[in-house]
């Protein structure tokens, strides 16, 4: 008998599953093999440590509490499908609305200025006629015309709405 076979037989013997002839050959092997005897000791102390110290603490299942939990789950299972969906969909819809609201606030275009360029210059305490004077002081007629055209275009774009 090999030591590996002996180990397996020791454990079978412990469970009462070893046939009589095998028990005899195991005992014979153990008499001559100190290594397997040590192994047997290891297993004995292992099983001693595993054995429960006594009955586990006595607890009873709280039947009333268990019954309530069962009834709650039954009610949950019986609830109409749309109600179960509603419970999931409503919070999601509220969250989505909040998200869209905050995004539109964050990315909405700023209101266009309500003042003409001249009014804005006056508000900044700047003379609005400087630009007009520059145009009027042009010597060449073509330059004057072109500057007037550009100035009128700018004024048209930001005209008071």
């Amino acid at each position: 008998m090999t030591c590996r076979q002996s180990e397996r037989m020791m454990l079978r013997a412990r469970d009462g599953r070893l046939a009589a002839p095998d028990t005899e050959s195991l005992e014979a092997h153990l008499r001559q093999c100190p290594q397997c005897r040590r192994l047997g000791e290891d297993y004995r102390s292992l099983f001693l440590a595993l054995a429960p110290a006594g009955a586990p603490p006595h607890r009873t299942v709280a039947w009333e509490q268990l019954r309530t939990r069962i009834e709650e789950r039954e009610a949950e299972a019986l609830r109409p499908e749309y109600q179960r969906w509603a419970l999931k969909v409503i919070p999601a819809a509220v969250a989505l609305a909040l998200l869209i609201g905050s995004a539109s606030l964050l990315f909405s275009p700023r209101p266009a200025s309500e003042y003409t360029p001249s009014e804005e210059l006056l508000l900044r305490n700047t003379n609005p006629l400087v630009e007009a004077r520059t145009i009027l002081e042009q010597k060449r007629l073509e330059d004057k015309s072109m500057m007037l055209i550009f100035a009128s275009n700018e004024g048209g774009l930001s005209r008071r709405r």
Partner: protein
């Protein structure tokens, strides 16, 4: 009333009958959960969840096995699920039990303390084993189930119980010895 009749009534939604079945098996289910978790409060919760699962699983129970075996299988699977989700948490919950006998001499006291330490080491090593080894060791060497009962609870053959149990015990012994040897070297 016979158990079969209680099961039949419970299957029809009679909660009082199911309550009687709970009463009959509460100790067994709690003990199973407790031996795996070593925590009475957690075992309480697990036992309740096992009974809830059993109640809602009753329509699928065809009576091909005993109700107790079927319930035990639900219990083992539920505890396995729990252990898969919370293995780390559990390993911190090991509290050595006060199992020292009345000791008269100093030598006996030292021996008792040594045994207690060994037990704590064994329990830590047990929790580090792969789940299938841990389950089979708990069912056989702590709960004391027979090979046939384990085979039915785990839906495996008696031959598989034999070989898996051998590997699990061998693995646990090696781990415990390695742990103790390491401890001896450091102290």
């Amino acid at each position: 009333m016979e158990e079969r009749e209680l099961v039949r009534l419970a299957q029809q939604g009679d909660k009082e009958s199911f309550g009687l079945l709970v009463k009959k098996y509460e100790k067994k289910v709690f003990s199973l959960a407790f031996q795996f978790t070593r925590n009475a409060a957690v075992a309480d919760d697990l036992a309740q969840e096992v009974f809830i699962k059993a109640y809602f699983g009753l329509p699928r129970f065809k009576g091909q096995s005993e109700f107790g075996t079927w319930l035990y299988r639900i219990g083992v699977n539920h505890v396995k699920d729990y252990l898969r989700k919370k293995p780390k948490e559990l390993s911190l919950e090991i509290v050595p039990e006060d199992r020292s006998p009345q000791v008269d001499t100093l030598a006996e006291e030292q021996e008792a303390r040594k045994n207690e330490q060994r037990r704590a080491v064994v329990m830590v090593c047990l929790q580090e084993l792969p789940l299938k080894h841990r389950v089979i060791l708990t069912l056989r060497d702590i709960e004391g189930l027979s090979y046939d009962e384990i085979a039915r609870a785990l839906k495996i053959s008696a031959g598989t119980v034999d070989s898996r149990l051998f590997r699990a015990r061998q693995s646990l012994r090696k781990r415990v010895n390695a742990f103790l040897n390491k401890e001896r070297r450091t102290s």
